[in-house]
Symmetry: none
Subunit: 208 residues, 4 copies
């Protein structure tokens, strides 16, 4: 064991590489903790203190990673969106390749419902935030962009060559999906998710 490894937290600064690794890891950790707490307790009812504690770091250090609570929220939203994209959307595109439109629609819906139950935190936070942060223009803008992108993706799925002609249809489908999520999160267990899913698949596969 070298002198350095024994005392490396006292004697010498960590290498820049080490530091950056730690930073990235920490940043993600904090964001994930915050995501969970924001989604379950709400943004306003979650204190910086609590997040720091749960993330195993000090309150003060939080401000080394995020300049304010609102900034943290922004990062949480972006992270959520990115994560949703990385999982749901990529999965989607992987699955629907070489499929007929009917099968593609079915797959998309199934994936959405899967996400909805498995990544409840992200979904819940997204919907919740979109409504409760009118006084935070940055967040508002981000949410607005996220929704718009979703419309475009669905429109593209329905008609890759002329997405604009199915725009209204795409918006309705997106609305239906988000509306179902909304109701499911509010009503809870007694919402018969499977019945709704099957009916929705039936409706849309009949239609397209």
């Amino acid at each position: 064991m070298t002198e350095r490894s024994v005392k490396n937290n006292i004697m010498a600064p960590r290498s820049e590489q080490e530091n950056e690794n730690i930073r990235n890891k920490r940043t993600t950790e904090i964001i994930m903790v915050a995501l969970e707490l924001f989604a379950t307790k709400g943004y306003h009812s979650t204190s910086i203190s609590k997040i720091a504690q749960q993330a195993g770091i000090s309150k003060g250090l939080m401000y080394n990673y995020f300049s304010s609570k609102e900034d943290l929220l922004k990062e949480v939203v972006l992270f959520s969106y990115k994560k949703a994209s990385d999982t749901l959307l990529e999965k989607m595109q992987a699955e629907i390749q070489h499929k007929s439109l009917k099968d593609a629609i079915k797959t998309v819906i199934e994936l959405f419902f899967e996400m909805m139950t498995e990544n409840a935190h992200i979904w819940k936070l997204s919907i919740s935030l979109s409504m409760q942060v009118t006084d935070m223009p940055d967040i508002q803008t981000i949410m607005s962009k996220i929704f718009s992108e979703a419309f475009q993706r669905i429109a593209f799925l329905l008609n890759p060559e002329n997405p604009e002609i199915v725009e209204a249809e795409a918006r309705i489908i997106a609305a239906t999906l988000d509306g179902i999520a909304l109701h499911y999160y509010v009503i809870g267990e007694s919402y018969d998710l499977d019945a709704v899913k099957n009916k929705l698949i039936e409706n849309l596969t009949n239609k397209f």
Copy 2:
């Protein structure tokens, strides 16, 4: 007998009727101010102080009418629901009588969109609240009931004799409507509400 002795109750306390009038007026005033602020700024970002100020009364008086901020919220929710029922739902039922199912559906959708733009506060608050009040069981319960009732009404509209067989369909329609509202409130002006409305009417009237 002097004027005064004739009216010796002139120095009596206000009559019960007077007091009740004052109370009713104030209660409604406060609820309406609170509704607007909760809907635009969010529940947590709206202080009792702000509501009182906007309502032109003292902070202390708020507690003469509502036992706590949460109690006020509950009353706001109930008031909103009642008002929505009194306008949207009654209107609906009045309009759809003697109409074919197609026409009835068209009417319902049009009324919903009308409400959505005209009573934006109420809608926005409802959706917003339903997501941000995990830690207020009372409100959660009320919201849950409100949504469930909406499903039933739609199901009844579609098939008055066997509402349960169209339950899933009703939930989808309700979800679509609430989802549209959600997107509209988040995205704002650039959301082409008319296009969506027309497409939705087309879809549903074709179907039923």
Copy 3:
């Protein structure tokens, strides 16, 4: 039934006699309600509102009888003292006439213990107040007087001709009695009041 008696609360002012009777009755009522609440909940934790409510009158009317909460407290203290005098002390003097000193002491102690359990409110409030109202000089003065008078009475009982030579002894006896009350009220049921009473009687009758 006369016209007047039917409408006497509307048509004509009550006679002065009636008014004074009502005033006296009300005053006593309020004081007694306040006494109970102050003794059980404490002075600071008892609101004027609560007292008014319990007494069946309006908050505003309270200020027709007492100029402030502190004034009410003062009256409560004086009333308590007067009531204690009227019962305990008069009873005492009645009973100890023609008795030997031993018997008189026994009687006094028995009466004190009786009062302590039966008029717990008054005792408790007195002790409590004497300690918690350092910032209310009026009350402080009254309490001080009450205690001093008690010393004198006991001294006079022990030696009617030269009460000053048994002053210290009288203070010790008074302290013992009040100390027992203090402990009893704090410790509650598990304090063996009878054992202490009998021992005290034994001690004092042996001594004098």
Copy 4:
């Protein structure tokens, strides 16, 4: 290597030891200020604000050390008791060793009177609290325990082998002492403490 990198722990957080020292110092400071204010002004009439001000810290910091005003009170009571034990009771036991019962009693009484004048705050608060905290069960319980322990100590002093047979006597002595304190604090300077002390010593040394 620069000066800074050599001492790169100069920017490290305070050591745990330092922090603990700060916390201990502050905690004690606050408790002592609170003790004085509670004892002189009463618990309810002493605001957190006032305590913070007197302790020279911000209101908010109070809650870094005590979770609520009632929690602070509890700590004050426990601290007072501990301090009383550490001084009065230890002193007592040190002094009465190898003494006759008569001398021991004399010493105990003298120590009690000394405490009463020198640590007036603690005594006053104890008596005061015991009466005014009916609605704080925790404090009630603590006070109850403290009094009970005092009885046992006195009983043990009087008859180490069979303390239970002198229990009533011990309670009477304890009551007398606390009663004297009560009267002294209420009546103030005009209470002739020395005369009472001497008489009490005379009484008890004659008796045992």
